[in-house]
Amino acid sequence: MQLIISNTSGIPIYQQIKEQIRDAILSGELQEGQMLPSLRQLAKELKISVLTITRAYTELEQEGYVTNMQGKGCFVMAHNSQLVREQLLCRIEERIKECIGLAKRGQITQQELLQIVTLLWEEIQ
């Protein structure tokens, strides 16, 4: 797994870490039972504070992606496909809202937008 932290993106560092780990889990790069790097190890390597990583891990745990075993470390949870599906739907909705906003700004009709989706859906395999 790779973690690439931007200092200029304006996105809080804990959130960048959280999203990258989440994506690695969803894509299958990180598999069930795999251990995440230790908090302090990662803090040192990325040169950021321990609590920033703690927050990323805690939120991943709350969302059901990992489980924290006291004294042992943080492990990737079994894929609960229902949960993963919900999370993905949630993200899709967010992005579609953005697209609709853009469409309205450019006076692009619902039909045109749907056409773009259909076209792209077929293009991307």
Binding site: P12, R40, A43, K44, S49
Partner: protein, 282 residues
């Protein structure tokens, strides 16, 4: 033991300066940055913690007990003004401190000397400012201290040396049993490695708590001239107005009152500057 250092209501009166009610808690295993303008009372607070200056009020607990000569064996200290005498040579220093600190670790000390590029034959007066800081840090790290108290450890250092020091500090807290309190006005260093921030101004507390919370509780706001109503104006901290516009800091909860204006995430430095300016203006 969850808390390494607890400072409660610490105060000191000088004829021209009063430090009052300084209160913060540094948990074990974490780094706290101590910030404020020059003269805000950072060094005085650190000296009070270490009993180098007698306090007038308040309490300091190190590992749940008042600071004593014995507990000071477990506190590593680096002050801005070096306590190393000019005519000492690097190789003499070990003899002086090894006798004083029971936990002195010869191998560890030698390791830091070589890592920092400190030559045994050099005299202290011939060391650059950065090298003197590294010398003090090598001493502070070599007797198994549980708490490091560092006063401006990165001031006067070039960016590469600062980066090295930060790396060593992160190494120091790796096992989770040790803590660091460090003051600085180079807040970019802090933004990276500090877990907690304590911010004082003119001898009183402004903030103590999680660094991320501090960063999230404010926004910088900017706009054109004549854009502000009286109500908005009162909500802005450290407001600066000029011929083409204004800028200032607002609490995150007041953010909605400024809809439509440019809003940015502040750095710790921004927060420090606006709040200090705001208090000066009062």
């Amino acid at each position: 033991m969850n808390n390494m250092l607890q400072v409660k209501g610490l105060g000191k009166n000088y004829p021209t300066f009063t430090l009052s009610d300084i209160t913060f808690t540094l948990p074990t295993g974490y780094v706290m940055g101590f910030i404020g303008q020059n003269g805000a009372g950072k060094t005085t607070t650190m000296k009070l913690i270490l009993q180098m200056v007698q306090k007038d009020s308040g309490e300091v607990l190190f590992m749940d007990n008042p600071v004593s000569a014995k507990s000071k064996q477990q506190i590593g200290v680096v002050f801005d003004s070096s306590f190393l005498l000019d005519d000492w040579k690097v190789k003499d220093i070990e003899g002086i401190f090894a006798g004083f600190y029971q936990g002195w670790d010869h191998a560890l000390y030698q390791n830091y000397l070589s890592r920092f590029g400190l030559e045994n034959t050099k005299k202290i007066k011939d060391l650059s400012r950065g090298m003197k800081t590294k010398m003090s840090l090598a001493v502070a790290l070599s007797y198994g201290a549980k708490l490091l108290i560092l006063d401006e450890p990165t001031s006067g250092l070039d960016p590469v040396a600062r980066d090295e020091i930060l790396e060593i500090l992160q190494e120091y807290i790796q096992d989770g049993t040790r803590s660091i309190l460090f003051s600085t006005h180079i807040t970019s260093d802090l933004e990276r490695i500090a877990d907690y921030i304590t911010f004082i101004n003119k001898g009183h507390m402004v903030y103590t708590g999680l660094k991320d919370e501090l960063l999230e509780s404010f926004y910088i706001i900017k706009g054109g001239n004549n854009a502000l109503s009286g109500g908005q104006r009162r909500k802005i901290i450290g407001l600066r107005e000029h011929s083409t516009g204004f800028d200032g800091l607002v609490h995150a909860q007041d953010k909605d009152a400024f809809a439509g204006m440019l809003m940015e995430k502040p750095s710790i430095q921004d927060i420090m500057v606006y709040i200090s300016k705001g208090e000066d203006a009062q």
